[in-house]
Symmetry: C3
Subunit: 366 residues, 3 copies
């Protein structure tokens, strides 16, 4: 049982995320890769939830995700060759089609053993990304994928990036759901929104929102320009984050001349999508979008701004989150009795929802 010391804002019945010991939600969509990472004619591989996954595109562009382990002698298939739509194992030459079935055995009489197949993962390409379903394929439902309109390349210029972080993915949920850290960790983006702003958290079904806003904020030059606030004017600012399981966050950050409606201001959406590589390492897929209506300038700014993000992410967030992970020294989060502050309400809701979903999945397992 958790023995956290809540600070008023947090319900006391918070349960330990890892009570069952099961670290991952399996029946969920995870980002396997940005679409552009998987190029035609190439074999791409990534470890996801501890499983080796092979990604490639068929000649018609359709992406495929297969288990990256030949069932014969366990060679990683990405060390083989892509021949049209077919993958040939680089060790003894078994060939597999885009469904994972073995379609060619160069040995002996060439019989195809029934067990000679690799796992086929449900995969959909949407919102500039390839989304993989790590659980029961029967339950893979594209409709449950949360909406990330602003990642749709039809309407937006989407700048993307990715990095590997050496820490558990739930620490990334915590990090994004409590953006008060911006003031202390990210000088470039810092405002007084933490000290002087207001925060709200809300749960809608299994969706959790963290909202942070401040009126009459004095912005630094970087933010003045980003939100097009005229010199000498104060701004109203907002940072709204929507979370969906397991670790998919949309962040809407905006500003407007103080007193004016939000619709008169500038809002830049960004995505913060986390996929566990293992229990102690996490793929971080991030993106920042600008409307296609901006024309060529929008494409340029999308690429530039996502590069501006990379700096703080790599130099400020990543070292801190990895240091937190090491400092936990293998202990479960709640067992360390974290002190909870007002700003943690959303992150705690997220841990609770995620724990409930994982527990429900575990109990439903055959």
């Amino acid at each position: 049982m958790p023995s956290a010391t809540p600070n008023g804002a947090v319900p006391a019945e918070v349960s330990a995320t890892t009570a069952s010991g099961e670290p991952f939600l399996r029946n969920a969509w995870y980002v396997a890769a940005w679409g552009a990472e998987v190029r035609e004619g190439e074999l791409f591989h990534r470890t996801i939830l501890g499983e080796p996954v092979l990604l490639y595109r068929k000649r018609n562009g359709t992406p495929v995700a297969l288990g990256n382990r030949c069932p014969h002698r366990f060679a990683p298939l990405h060390l083989g060759k892509l021949r049209g739509d077919v993958v040939e194992c680089g060790y003894h030459g078994l060939q597999f089609d885009g469904t994972g079935a073995c379609i060619h055995n160069p040995h002996g009489g060439g019989a195809l053993p029934r067990a000679a197949r690799v796992r086929l993962y449900p995969l959909i390409e949407r919102y500039s990304a390839l989304w993989i379903w790590m659980g029961d394929p029967e339950r893979a439902n594209p409709e449950v994928l949360p909406v990330f309109d602003f990642l749709a390349p039809e309407d937006w210029f989407v700048g993307t990036g990715q990095m590997l972080v050496g820490a558990n993915y739930e620490l990334e949920n915590d990090n994004i759901m409590d953006l008060s850290h911006i003031e202390f960790m990210h000088p470039l983006f810092a405002t007084e929104a933490v000290r002087r702003g207001k925060t709200q958290s809300a749960q809608e079904g299994d969706t959790v929102w963290s909202r942070r806003f401040i009126t009459e904020d004095e912005l630094n030059p970087f933010l003045m320009q980003a939100f097009q606030i005229p010199a000498g004017q104060l701004a109203d600012r907002w940072l709204d984050v929507r979370w969906n399981a397991p670790a998919l966050m949309a962040l809407y950050t905006g500003g407007v001349v103080s007193g004016r409606p939000r619709s008169d201001g500038v809002e830049v959406p960004s995505a913060h999508l986390f996929t566990p590589e293992t229990q102690s390492s996490t793929h971080y897929f991030y993106a920042m979008s600008f409307p296609r209506a901006m024309g060529p300038a929008g494409e340029k700014v999308a690429k530039e701004q996502v590069e501006v993000l990379r700096g703080p992410f790599e130099r400020e967030d990543k070292p801190m989150i990895e240091a937190v992970g090491r400092n936990m020294n293998g202990a479960a989060f709640w067992s360390l009795q974290p002190v909870l502050l007002a700003g943690d309400a959303a992150a705690v809701k997220v841990r609770r929802v995620l724990a409930q979903l994982i527990e429900a999945e575990r109990q439903a397992a055959p």
Copy 2:
């Protein structure tokens, strides 16, 4: 019990190699080093079956293998000095002779505690190598060492090499006993022998043979030259491998103008000898031999050809076998339910014989 899916050629009662959990055959000869690796006047050390071993030569050239751990404070003896035939520990100066007995104690009255001795391993120098017996010294019998005539430096120029591979040694047995991988992994040596050739496996006592041959093969230029096939002619090719426990393989690879008897052709013998460093790392000792009857040209070609082998071994076999080991993620081979193909028959016989030998040894242990 294994739940492999055999493909006709493989008996169903295959037992798990690691059923008893004991990973090594101990009462067996292993290559500790090539003879030339252990130079007079120097202390050489290597970890074998997880045990630290010290190797050196006495002044008369006789090689010695001792436990590389001083019984006083556990210092590795190779950090000390070789004084004539005697090893002096580099920490507190105890001296041990070539039987492992402590013969000098510089401390106090100089008494020699009875327990002050290091383990003496049976060691024989034969076939260009130093062979160590890791089990009960009473049972060390040089006569059970398999014959490797072509490694005898009296009659052959023997080109040798060694490397450390980060994988379990049984994966190396698998690799050599199924040479069909040549076609897919080694462009330099590839022929159509896999697709069009025939394979046979045979067990004679505890010796296992894998034989692979093809008639009317069209060779690449490298192989045409190696087997002295005139331009424009087809060749008959063979690849015969003899295995003895634990991981000692002789490979006879040959070619002859199609239709002529083997004795008219060229056969080059090579050795593939594996010694576990640990359960997950393996010393690979390889050699290729040419008859002394060739004269000085033979010595040159032996050195050159073994260097030609090093390339594919380091760049093609080693990365693949290490990737297979990582992909198995600590699981026992049979527990992963490998799909078995026709070409696996010999390798499966090897796993079965080795498992039986290890199990017999375990049951005989006091």
Copy 3:
């Protein structure tokens, strides 16, 4: 039970140091850092007995040791900022004073949760070092700190150094308590004191002494100069080590013209103070002192001589002790049945006293 083979000098009832499995004495003073390592205005951190510790100085110079883990989200506090006497967490800005109490919460209403505090470790500055108490703060008694007069900067020029050694700290006790290794490992300091000298060990309460002396020794030029022995003269030499738990050693090394009283000679005291970082790594704090009465020359020689020590410590002791640790392969010391020699008497007394103290502490624990 140990089955060591004692060599006359060692009692048979030696108990295994790690019988209880508890590797550390907690209610004891350990060196956390040399005083000069922790500079004003900076946050310093070190892992001690597996615990992350933050060290800094308040504006009045008083050193502070706090747990280096924010109770909110477990960030290491050394990644934050020192603001006067107060530490601000670099993640979400909680502030802690020099008692470990949270004194500022920038979030929400700013309430200070009662649990928001970090551990305060008792810390005293004495003998050029910061001494930390890792056990029950109620029991921290400065009076039990062993006396190291010669580290007091009021009276001595103290040259200091430190390094991290990748081995268990008890191997360092063994190393210093049996200086016979000097003859075999350290050519620079070697004399014939091992072969021809006499050794004594003594226990006084929980203090253990190892004394080594030799008469009419022929010194090498380095030692001739160090002990001011005129050319052509023989010397009487001594090496006396005092040990206190857990791993605090004073070494008095001296020499005098043969036949003269010690008080006519030169004695240089040095300190060898070990603090476990983890069970398998150890902070080594060493120092060598020369009296302030020597004037400026003394300061120079203190700095130079401690640098002379660094060479052998890093190139000779450290590799050997780390190799011994690896060679023990995780086994408990006594389980390996070490052969004990005359020179081990003091080291064995030390292991016995330390084991008794740890066991007594364990039994007294609530």
